[in-house]
């Protein structure tokens, strides 16, 4: 009994409870809420990408929406215009996104602090413009249509098709869970520890024989790949994509999600994305006000709770346990 109680109250218990909820709730709610949950899952993945480069490596990138857009468009173009199948296109799209991350990372990460932030923002703006202006390739503002859902999976009792919402939701949830598990292993590994060390003190880390530039490029490339996966999933889910998805303000929104949830924590992307995406929905806020409200919430958090919700919970817990000892 005691052990059961411990499991329920432990961190693992909370994660398992959330997993169960994420699996059982969608069939019980309508399509609208399920589509909302799909978007929350996709943006949580994107938020993990910001978490790696900013939360864990200390380099604030405002350009993750651009990698999301590159992943989405690469997948869309490879399936619609090149005619590749779902999985080859998926794989190639994230490789392409990774290459972009690597190539942008090399010059951008030589810059520190505000200069790096500005370069990532500039990159994001440029990518947004390219998607609008390169009409022959991207279809311009009209966007790109006819992007496929995943191939149906043959099962003993019939075919599992992803044309309907619910299977698509589980498909995306599956990716979110895999990414989260790999992410948590990465940040606990020795390589992950060097990312964190860079965010703590870059010069000290370099003096300890770590090629900090190489590690920052590695982290940025992985973060681009994660953003690319989110983009591919979005592209396949939504069937059509248009340049707004890579709009630079999206890159800032996602940073706001992360800071509100708690940068540099595993729970941060979930908490922040959920709060900032679900809240406007619940409060019936006009979408055009979203960015404004995100900005205000972000400012309040930076002023009063810079470590975010999960950082706040952690320090509350610490205070509590200290009291019990003392």
């Amino acid at each position: 009994m005691e052990t059961l109680k411990n499991i329920i109250l432990s961190k693992t218990g909370i994660w398992l409870l959330l997993l169960v909820l994420a699996v059982v709730i969608p069939p019980m709610v309508g399509g609208y809420l399920t589509s909302m949950l799909i978007l929350i899952c996709i943006w949580t993945i994107l938020c993990f990408s910001v978490n790696l480069i900013y939360g864990y490596t200390g380099q604030l990138s405002l350009g993750q929406a651009a990698f999301f857009g590159i992943g989405a468009y690469a997948f869309g173009l490879l399936t619609v215009k090149v005619g590749l199948g779902f999985w080859p296109a998926f794989f190639l799209a994230i490789v392409i996104t990774g290459i972009f991350g690597f190539l942008i990372g090399i010059p951008a990460l030589k810059l520190r602090g505000p200069y790096f932030i500005l370069v990532t923002l500039g990159f994001s703006v440029i990518i947004g413009v390219v998607f609008v202006a390169w009409i022959e390739l991207t279809g311009g503002a009209n966007g790109l249509a006819g992007i496929p859902r995943p191939n149906p999976v043959p099962l003993p009792w019939g075919e599992l098709s992803f044309e309907s919402l619910l299977p698509m939701y589980y498909f995306i949830l599956f990716f979110l869970i895999i990414i989260m598990l790999l992410f948590s292993r990465l940040v606990k590994s020795l390589i992950g520890k060097t990312f964190i060390a860079i965010s703590y003190n870059e010069n000290l880390t370099e003096s300890l024989g770590i090629n900090t530039m190489g590690r920052k490029i590695m982290s940025f490339t992985i973060s681009a790949v994660i953003a690319g996966i989110a983009g591919v999933l979005y592209s396949s889910y939504n069937i059509v994509i248009s340049p707004e998805i890579a709009y630079f303000a999206k890159g800032m929104d996602v940073v706001a999600y992360l800071i509100v949830g708690g940068a540099g924590t595993m729970a941060g992307p979930f908490i922040g994305t959920f709060i900032l995406m679900a809240l406007p929905e619940i409060l019936q806020i006009v979408p055009s006000l979203n960015t404004l409200i995100n900005g205000i919430i972000l400012m309040l958090f930076l002023l009063f709770l810079p470590s975010g919700v999960s950082g706040g919970i952690l320090s509350l817990k610490e205070k509590f346990s200290k009291k019990r000892i003392g």
């Binding site: 020795l190 390589i191 060097t194 060390a197 703590y200 370099e206 300890l208 024989g209 090629n211």
Partner: protein, 255 residues
């Protein structure tokens, strides 16, 4: 051949020559102190030796290899490590975790094997954990193992920063004011630590202002003033050198 050879080393910041045509060498196994008034260019010299600054001119040869233009992490990997004048540790995490990060350069596991957790990566982790514990006890911080590094006293932070520098397994260790900001009573403990490091056959360059300490532990001393090498020799020879006394005018009593 000396362990380290410096020739014609110069670093200018605008019009100021912080290090000005320095020539000296460090012999295998010795403890060489570098002294000089504030702003003499001592820290700048360490920054040049470790690749944090690129020299305006001159050469640095370590173990017969030119490291003048090497990046700091390459210098560290070739066998030189350092502490910083502004004590540098990872204050956001625990003492042991600091020393685990210090071992990271020895890790060979690639990205995939460390994420997936191949047996080789797990074995490597275990080895690194053990080495971190070993250094923890070498610098005498066992009882602070799981404490936050931020909560350490200045003296313990110095020990930790030296432990970090030792994690890279240097042949030449550069210590920038290892007793700076530490209580008088605690200094002897740090001196003992420096002695222990010497017994490992690690060559040491030491920047210090505390003359009694410098005079007692150095094999040789170099005196810098305005970036120039104004005297060099045994502690006795340097203490009686006219130029040095001039440079330290008013500080003579400390000898």
């Amino acid at each position: 051949m000396a362990l380290l050879e410096i020739s014609g080393l110069t670093k200018r910041f605008g019009g100021l020559s912080a290090v000005d045509d320095l020539n000296f060498s460090v012999k295998q196994g010795e403890l060489l102190s570098i002294i000089g008034p504030n702003g003499a260019g001592k820290t700048t010299l360490f920054n040049l030796m470790t690749g944090f600054y690129k020299p305006t001119s001159g050469k640095i040869i370590f173990k017969e290899k030119d490291i003048t233009r090497s990046k700091p992490h390459q210098v560290t990997r070739s066998g030189i490590s350092r502490t910083f004048q502004m004590t540098s540790i990872y204050s956001q995490t625990t003492v042991l975790e600091n020393l685990v990060i210090g071992q990271a350069l020895h890790a060979k596991s690639g990205l995939c094997s460390s994420i997936i957790g191949f047996p080789s990566a797990n074995r490597e982790r275990k080895k690194i954990q053990d080495k971190a514990e070993e250094i923890l006890s070498f610098v005498g911080l066992e009882d602070k193992r799981d404490k936050s590094a931020a909560g350490l006293t200045e003296e313990a932070q110095k020990r930790l920063s030296i432990g970090l520098a030792l994690s890279t397994e240097p042949e030449l260790l550069l210590l920038d004011e290892p007793t700076g900001g530490v209580n008088m009573e605690e200094i002897s403990g740090l001196i003992d630590l420096v002695d222990k490091i010497r017994q490992l056959n690690i060559t040491i360059c030491l920047i210090e202002h505390k003359m009694r300490m410098v005079m007692s532990i150095s094999d040789r001393i170099i005196v810098l003033s305005y970036g120039k090498n104004i005297a060099e020799g045994t502690p006795d020879a340097v203490a009686n050198n006219e130029e040095v006394i001039k440079a330290y005018l008013g500080e003579r009593c400390v000898f």
